[in-house]
């Protein structure tokens, strides 16, 4: 397959070797599981169980709360201790409603829906609803409900299902291990998704720095039709879906459009595995593979963790902290977000837990911009970070928006490369959030204005009706008087 070049990007040290050679180990059940109602993008799930209830493994705990939402299931059997607010695994540290489950240790399965024996003969809608019921979301970290993405085929003509095995973030090796150890499941899941989407072809894209995964997946794919495995250059952020699509097709996804508009839908490799289990065996998403790494972790490894396990329990399982970390990051070191504490649960989108030492975090005070232009050269989205950040610093968000700050994918390449250590991507995250907040406020103001206008019209009508009634009464009186 011919590959196309992608502009910009950076080449951070991989630092994957600490975990890439250790096989996935399953973590034993912790004492308590904390399952947030919102582990995905969209509306929070709505609980269908109450405190004190006994539940079995795989049982539905909270159903999807809207069209874009995902249900939550019990990762093991046990008792619901309570449904309470708990710190979210989110940099804000805000509380969010969480189902607290105490495992009983029996790990007893609930009755699952029967698997589809031959998914390739089933109705695509049946596959989509199976994926929706299993609570599967994008497991690369974006956590967008996968079933909603599988609906794209009904609206658009799709050519390719692109399976994203780039894993361009340093440290992370969970996708690498999934590809090496579960290639058959993954390819089966991918083919099921392609069938549901109506896409005739599956392409698996893997960065060239994972030769073993490439070999294993190529081997597994050799007997399957319409399936291609490609090695893409190791270049951060190759795993961004827009950039991966550009590398495969040479086409750039237009701003505010989807890759599906180019006929391509991108899914993560771990998502494909989850789809395989959901469709073939009716199993909901109950666990995920997490890379636990960083210089402060005693025993870095890839762990299959039941959802809802506390990060502190997970770190303990990995031998605890060898040295106090400077920073604990949820996700990769480039795009991951700092965790407010270790007392937060692992959720569907947790791809990595990195405890970084001061050396690794490499935090340095920022200095004035020397206008070297490196950020402009490496921006994979073709933006001008130096100009945008200057505008945002002066709170001129409109000017930054005109330069395209909303098209920034927050890959962090600019912050990484900046010789003056200016937190460029932090400015853009702030600006994007603030612009969205302003949009929401403007929508609310419009909504209120409509209500007020309606209110005024109603008052006028009432006044007019009153006046008419009074006039009619006066007329009747006058006529009465005339008769008398």
């Amino acid at each position: 397959m011919k590959l196309f070049s992608v502009r910009g990007g950076v080449h951070p040290e991989y630092r994957k070797e600490r975990t890439s050679e250790s096989a996935i180990v399953a973590m034993p059940l912790p004492a308590t599981l904390y399952l947030p109602l919102q582990q995905h993008i969209g509306a929070p799930a709505e609980p269908v169980v109450e405190a004190g209830e006994l539940v079995k493994k795989g049982q539905l705990l909270a159903r999807a709360g809207g069209a874009v939402s995902a249900p939550v299931h019990a990762p093991t059997s046990g008792r619901i201790a309570s449904i309470a607010d708990m710190t979210a695994p989110h940099p804000s540290g805000l509380p969010q409603p969480t189902i607290i489950l105490e495992p009983d240790g029996k790990d007893e399965w609930a009755e699952l829906p029967p698997g589809l024996f031959d998914p390739f003969k089933a109705d695509p809608q049946a596959i989509r609803s199976r994926v929706a019921e299993a609570g599967i979301v994008g497991m690369g970290g974006a956590t967008f409900p996968s079933a909603v993405k599988l609906n794209l085929g009904t609206e658009k003509k799709l050519e390719i299902l692109l399976l994203n095995g780039a894993e361009c973030e340093p440290y992370l090796t969970c996708d690498d291990r999934v590809m090496r150890e579960r290639a058959e499941e993954m390819l089966d899941g991918a083919r099921i998704m392609a069938y549901a989407l109506g896409a005739p072809k599956v392409v698996v894209a893997i960065e060239e720095n994972k030769p073993q995964a490439l070999e294993v997946v190529k081997q597994a794919a050799s007997t399957l039709p319409n399936l291609e495995v490609v090695s893409v250059p190791a270049q951060y952020p190759m795993g961004s879906e827009r950039h991966l699509v550009q590398a495969i097709t040479g086409e750039e996804t237009p701003a505010r459009k989807l890759t599906a508009d180019l006929g391509i839908v991108v899914h993560n490799v771990a998502t494909a595995c989850a789809v395989h289990h959901a469709v073939r065996y009716g199993k909901p998403l109950l666990a995920r593979v997490v890379t636990v790494s960083g210089g402060a972790i005693a025993k870095p490894q890839n762990v299959e963790v039941p959802l809802g396990t506390l990060v502190s329990d997970l770190v303990e399982f990995c031998g605890g902290l060898a040295v106090p970390p400077k920073r604990v990051v949820n996700g990769g070191p480039m795009m991951g977000q700092p965790l407010p504490s270790l007392a937060v649960p692992v959720v569907k989108g947790t791809s990595g837990i990195l405890a970084l030492t001061a050396d690794e975090a490499n935090e340095q005070p920022s200095e004035p911009c020397i206008r070297c232009g490196t950020c402009v050269t490496i921006c994979p989205c073709g933006l001008v970070p130096v100009e945008m950040s200057a505008f945002i610093r002066k709170e001129n968000l409109d000017a930054a928006a005109r330069l395209g700050v909303r098209d920034c994918v927050s890959c962090g390449s600019c912050s990484y490369i900046c010789p003056a250590h200016i937190p460029l991507v932090h400015y853009f995250n702030y600006a994007k959030g603030r612009l969205n907040a302003l949009d929401r406020e403007a929508r609310k103001t419009d909504h209120i204005r409509q209500l007020v206008e309606g209110h005024n019209v109603r008052l006028e009508k009432q006044a007019a009706a009153k006046a008419a009634a009074a006039a009619a009464a006066a007329q009747a009186n006058a006529e009465k008087g005339g008769e008398a």
Binding site: S92, L94, E367, P368, I392, R393, L438, I448
Partner: protein, 181 residues
């Protein structure tokens, strides 16, 4: 030819004079700036700015008699927009931004007097005489007019909580300031 030129010239002169006279005597005082400013205000006529309604507030803004930070429900967002339109620098630092609020009826205390319903310009309050009232959160913009008229203090103003999906990073510390130290 001469007749054509002559008649057109006469017509032009007459119509021009007519238009000139009309524009002088039938002139309507309408400040376009005022209308634009009115468009930026929430339009709920809550009177928290001290004017009767948003129209009067817009007039005062256009004349420069009121500051851009006059609208409490509009908050920082409206103040910024007004400042931009008027070409002035909004001094937002000393403005205490309480953030968006909404009103809630405490059910035990409500006596069903309907006073708040009559105050609400956005029709956000539902209820009937001697029946408990309730406020639709999505339609409330926190103008607090109902809060002020409630005889039993059954209405309280609550801060709209920040949700996970609405939270965003704060602005990083100013690089130039860091350098100045």
């Amino acid at each position: 030819m001469l007749i054509a030129v002559g008649s057109l010239a006469v017509m032009g002169a007459t119509l021009g004079t007519l238009l000139g006279v009309a524009s002088r005597y039938l002139h309507v005082e309408d400040d376009p700036l005022e209308l634009e400013l009115l468009g930026l205000l929430p339009g709920a006529n809550c009177a928290q700015c001290g004017f009767v309604g948003c129209g009067q507030a817009a007039a005062a803004l256009a004349k420069g008699e009121a500051g851009v930070t006059l609208c409490p429900p509009g908050g920082k967002a409206v103040a910024e927009k007004l400042a931009k339109k008027l070409g002035v620098k909004a001094d937002l630092d000393d403005q205490e931004d309480v953030g968006p609020q909404y009103a809630v009826v405490e059910e035990d205390l409500c006596i069903g007097c309907t006073r708040c319903i009559r105050e609400c310009t956005a029709d956000a309050i539902f209820g009937a005489p001697k029946q408990m009232h309730t406020i639709l959160k999505d339609n409330c913009h926190g103008c607090a007019k109902c809060f002020k008229v409630c005889p039993t203090e059954a209405i309280k103003m609550c801060k709209v909580p920040v949700t996970l999906s609405e939270w965003h990073w704060a602005k990083p510390e100013d690089v130039a300031d860091v350098h100045a130290h």
